[in-house]
Amino acid sequence: AQSVTQLDSQVPVFEEAPVELRCNYSSSVSVYLFWYVQYPNQGLQLLLKYLSGSTLVESINGFEAEFNKSQTSFHLRKPSVHISDTAEYFCAVKVSGSARQLTFGSGTQLTVLP
């Protein structure tokens, strides 16, 4: 079975500072990796995903994540955060071709301070 570990439950950063949200996974088979974001009082929405190919994936709002197979990591980064990035971020892993769907990490609350 696969598992996901998000090492930081809370990450406060100042506006325009860089941020990294860490995610490590374990799985005995090939997986897909995802980052979902949950803004206050809303459901989750997909931020970015790695299925195959280039190990660096980017979102439309400036976030990027790099799949590192040797370190079994999929850390999320942004070089300069905005107040509007304040949200909870979930890393998730999925066995390819499985209907069982995602195993989520416990989440990281990113709070951007003015």
């Binding site: 995903k49 998730a92 209907a99 069982r100 769907q101 989440g107």
Partner: protein, 112 residues
């Protein structure tokens, strides 16, 4: 385009009362459907998933049950709620490629 509707948005129920949360998907056929729970300070836990009408897989033993009476309808139920059932419940769907989940807006359930 596809949409997912989940209701109610908030619900306050006494211990021992029944529960019924409903989720419907529009704009697609034969979706895979999921119920997740997000407890305060914890991550998302998969409760049930369904790959077709009447087909329900339960992930964890619990006080809840799920049903899929129609292709695009997924219902989460309980006969008698417990305090520990409080949490944020999210319905989601995916296509047959299983690559991406689309989430509903969630239901905040408080059991008092």
């Amino acid at each position: 385009s596809q949409t997912i509707h989940q209701w109610p948005a908030t619900l306050v129920q006494p211990v021992g009362s029944p529960l019924s949360l409903e989720c419907t998907v529009e704009g697609t056929s034969n979706p895979n459907l999921y119920w997740y729970r997000q407890a305060a300070g914890r991550g998302l836990q998969l409760l049930f998933y369904s790959v077709g009408i009447g087909q329900i897989s339960s992930e964890v033993p619990q006080n809840l049950s799920a049903s899929r009476p129609q292709d695009r309808q997924f219902i989460l139920s309980s006969k008698k709620l417990l305090l520990s059932d409080s949490g944020f419940y999210l319905c989601a769907w995916s296509g047959t490629a299983h690559e991406k989940l689309f989430f509903g807006s969630g239901t905040q359930l408080s059991v008092l």
